[in-house]
Amino acid sequence: MANARQDHRSEPWKDPGATPYVRIDKITKKFGDFVAVDDVTLNIYRGEIFCLLGGSGCGKTTLLRMMAGFEAPTSGSISLDGVDVTAMPPYEQPVNMMFQSYALFPHMTVQKNVAFGLHQDKLPKSEIDARVAEMLKLVRMEQFASRAPHQLSGGQRQRVALARSLVKRPKLLLLDEPLAALDKKLREHTQFELINIQETLGVTFVVVTHDQEEAMTLASRIGVMNHGEIVQVGTPTDIYEYPGSRFVADFIGSVNMFEGHLIEDEPDYVRVDSEDLGGVFHVGHGVSAAPNATVWVALRPEKIHILRDRPEGEGDNRVAGVVSEIAYLGDQSIYLVRLAGGRQVRVTQPNILRQSGGGRISWDEQVWLTWDSSSPVVVTQ
């Protein structure tokens, strides 16, 4: 889904001449001795859905709150559309935020909640009414305009909160865990709705989330955060297929990580001998590391083939093992294969054929694992 969307989208971050819309420059935020955000520099372009992804306490929310003006950075600056907004109080920022708790005013109706921001700008009543009605229609809440927030379901509140934060036509919309309070089915549905609304209005979104699936679906680009730093920025595909570090590879999706050292280092391929694996990886991309350096090879479970018969000939990228666990999930099966050295490898295979009874790989069976040389990724940190 994410790939399909990017195909018809421009990718301004690849154009060195493009001007970033939001420029975050060497931002640091300390709370006492604790460094919440550590020297973050980040450019976000107009029309993007940029996801800040990380575990709890990684600094993503603090970074978002600094963009909204709720926290003053200890050092560094933020500029939006060419204007320095670092010291601007929140009520002057041309930025709106959708809060994780939605923060709807409990003593006001849906209509009044959405109109609140427009009243602050002292717009004429007719214009306020028109814009509120238009926004409620966009989020399909027009028939709930006179309800109080406590009379709405979680999903309805979420849509009101979205309408309230979009009605002022902000230059930038900040979303703090926008879907965390919804159940799984509703969340998936709402993700696509969010994307549609974003494309309709063309507002730049910055989304904070701890849910990698949400980030993969929504984002044009993802910034993975850890310990207050941005460890990698890239499209969902980049982040998944080309993780730059063990942390990113591990955080996004599941991965088999093998320690090894370089035994051959050519511009277009490397070979890594791994005791963990009990074999040699032949990796189809170059690596910038010292010869014989310790490296890690990340191999996604869905990129491994599981075979009954020994592959023909000799070579790299193959290893024998015994199936120790199988989990049948319907659309796919997860196999845990124990290698000769004791290491467990996770393999997922789509269940393309309807299987019943025999023919299926079962417990304690001797199997061979192989993969393409384009599949493994070598990371050096």
Binding site: A68, G69, F70, P89, P90, Y91, E92, Q93, V95, N96, M97, F99, S101, A103, L104, F105, P106, H107, F116, G117, Q120, D121, H150, R164, S165, K168
Partner: protein, 333 residues
């Protein structure tokens, strides 16, 4: 060891349950319990009936007695009023209801002024308490959690000394050769003492001082519950802090404002000690009128009518308080 301890711990409720079962099996117990239950008397109603019984015995009955006195005639003697019901003969019962006491209250400007003055004094004191108490409560609710209990304790600390003693202490502070005047004169700020005692100022000071905790505590509870992200949301939508206070904080703490105001206003209307000790002849409040009626004029019926009329005056604010509290509870459900 642990097994022994458990065995001992288990045995006592077991013995109790056995005892209960034995009592329940007794004939008289079963008879009494069945009789009560057939009249709708379960354990639940028994528990609820205790406060009802208490209130009707010590509130409703005295109220009815006072009401009875208020519609009777004054007379010299003991008790100083005519009985409501007399027996003209063995068969004829005479009920004499005298509404003249109430008419007297209405006609005499003294009582009307006393009521008006009581309400005015209580109203101004309530507003002063609100203006002083809201920032206090706000400050406490927004202080560090570790400080809050200490600050709340300080608000309640005056209750550790008798109310009467504290009001007497103000006399020592306010009188002509009291603390304030002596200090100012010794510093040369003033040449002759400022008259503070026996003025309306002293009455307001006394009421605000005495009733401030009743204002602060409900306000604190309301402000402390307020979700701060709502203020962030308001700011995010372009609302400046002062406006956000009136648009968000004040409406959402309305329950605390009303509760605190009523807790100050209702007792302040009937306040007797403070105007008697700190007030002058100008600060005539209904509590003092009642006292004088009762002890100086020995007119029990008029005094009772004054008391009943005051209650009627206070029914309206009490009704408002009830309504707001009821709505608050409904909204949080």
């Amino acid at each position: 060891m642990s097994r022994n301890a458990r065995a001992v711990g288990d045995s006592s409720p077991f013995v109790l349950a056995e005892l209960m079962a034995w009592i329940k099996a007794l004939g008289p117990y079963r008879w009494a319990s069945n009789r009560l239950r057939s009249r709708g008397m379960t354990g639940r109603t028994a528990v609820i009936s205790v406060p009802y019984l208490w209130l009707s015995l010590f509130f409703l009955v005295p109220f009815l007695i006072v009401f009875k006195i208020s519609v009777s005639d004054i007379r010299l003697g003991m008790p100083p009023y005519d009985p409501l019901v007399t027996w003209a003969s063995a068969q004829v019962m005479e009920l004499k209801v005298n509404l003249g006491n109430y008419a007297f209250l209405w006609e005499d400007a003294l009582y009307r002024n006393a009521y008006a003055n009581s309400i005015l004094t209580a109203g101004i004191s309530t507003i002063l308490c609100l203006l002083i108490g809201y920032p206090m409560a706000y400050g406490i609710a927004r202080s560090k959690p570790s400080w809050r209990n200490l600050l709340l304790l300080l608000v309640m600390l005056p209750f550790w000394t008798s109310f009467l003693l504290r009001v007497y202490a103000w006399i020592g502070i306010l009188k002509n050769n009291g603390l304030i005047n002596n200090l100012l004169m010794s510093m040369g700020v003033i040449d002759e003492p400022i008259v503070m005692l026996q003025t309306n100022f002293a009455v307001y000071l006394g009421i605000v001082y005495s009733y401030l905790p009743f204002m602060v505590l409900p306000l604190y509870t309301a402000i402390e519950k307020l979700d701060l992200t709502l203020l962030e949301a308001a700011a995010d939508l372009g609302c400046r802090p002062v406006k956000a206070f009136f648009k968000i904080t004040a409406p959402l703490t309305k329950g605390g404002i009303v509760a605190g105001s009523m807790l100050v206003f209702i007792p302040a209307v009937g306040e007797f000690v403070i105007p008697a000790l700190l007030g002058g002849p100008g600060s005539l409040m209904i509590g003092r009128v009642l006292w004088e009626e009762f002890f100086n004029n020995r007119s029990w019926p008029i005094a009772s009518a004054v008391a009943i009329a005051m209650l009627v005056v206070l029914v309206f604010p009490i009704w408002i308080l009830q309504r707001v509290q009821g709505r608050e509870m409904g909204a949080h459900r």
